[in-house]
């Protein structure tokens, strides 16, 4: 447990579903939530677990993935500050369909499910906002599905790099802020680690990207977009 974070003062709340709560509701929520620091590599929950609440990401990055045959991971999405994880399982009353693992040190605020349901019952704007979020995520999942099903590994990798830049941004030198292993990149686009490595080299040769160890810098966005078949 770290120093408690007050929803009312939280600087990422404005991006989250919490923003729809009244100050009183936020204060009440503070009494029930638990904010913890999770280090890189920490497991927040396992696929198949029954969760007892949801997690609001205050900082850091968490990857959500399913484990397939032979233990290969399929990354479903990344959650960053302002995102909520675990809500799918709570609201559908199923066990977790993914595991959640910390990619970059994260502070997560836990909200017990009974408190969540209380809020949902009393605050219809909050419900609508959650619906909004769930449906948006559903749309992204569907798009992702079609991408993986129809595009080549090369196209998918180019697109993934662009998406990572859009979602997580770049540092002052232009390098993607998010650092993934080659294997994680592979698990994101559903391919083998070696394929990612080979294609990254090709992208480098084509002057689409620069590589410094695990850090990647996109230098020809148009070229990547063309490669990804995006318009």
């Amino acid at each position: 447990m770290i120093r408690p974070i007050k929803c009312r003062d939280c600087d990422v709340v404005s991006k989250t579903i919490i923003k729809n709560l009244s100050d009183e509701e936020k204060d009440k929520l503070d009494l029930d939530k638990a904010c913890n620091l999770y280090k890189r590599g920490a497991i927040v929950y396992h696929e198949g677990n029954r969760l007892s609440g949801i997690f609001c990401v205050n900082s850091g990055i968490v990857k959500l993935f399913k484990t397939g045959v032979e233990g290969r991971e399929q990354i479903i999405r990344f959650a960053k500050e302002g995102d909520v994880i675990g809500y799918r399982s709570i609201l559908s009353e199923e066990v977790a369909c993914t595991s959640a693992k910390v990619v970059e040190d994260a502070i997560l605020c836990f909200i017990p499910s009974d408190k969540l349901f209380n809020l949902l019952k009393k605050n219809s704007d909050f419900s609508l906002e959650l619906l909004h979020m769930a449906c948006k995520e559903l749309g992204e999942s569907n798009s992702f599905l079609a991408e993986i099903a129809q595009k080549s590994v090369r196209e998918r990798l180019a697109e993934a790099l662009l998406l990572l830049k859009t979602n997580f941004g770049a540092d002052e030198n232009g390098y993607l802020k998010i650092n993934l292993t080659r294997e994680e990149l592979a698990n994101l686009i559903g391919t083998a680690t070696e394929s990612v490595i080979r294609l990254l080299s090709e992208f480098k040769d084509d002057n689409f990207i620069e590589i410094q160890g695990r850090k990647i810098k996109l230098i020809d966005l148009a070229g990547l977009k063309r490669t990804a078949n995006l318009f």
Copy 2:
């Protein structure tokens, strides 16, 4: 427009989100909804359209698909009696992320979005039920994603056949009730039509299935499960 269907009397309502409405709410909804018959091949809405409401499937089957590069369809899911389509787009306030096309003659009841939002604001059980549905669908989408990303075409086809049987059932002779063209099967599992044809022949040779034109009968479920790598 066909003979109006009263929600209160509708025999599939018990399976839908409508079941959470009071009799008064149902009666009120009857005044606002429009029930139409759609023939096979009819387009309910196009990807990219902004929808003005949601559709409740009273009977028939509708396929939801995305159109990728080169116009290839990727089927996202099928909707049958009791299912709702178009809600994702309305609730996320985005344009439709899929097209909806009738696979088997269908009766669809249209509910305008302002009525939907009225209900959501006033009836928290209804909201929760919609959340439940959306989150369940999200879980299915995620599973589907991992399947397509990690499994071979052979595994996917075996699994798809099993899923079609689970979701749509079989007739008195054991043949799948849902009739899809080879191309639709291919677009479901993200492969080429020819691959589906070849694999279906192999499954027949392996005595996993019987084929009568477009009708398919599963005769060795265990064999198919093994082939699909399911446990």
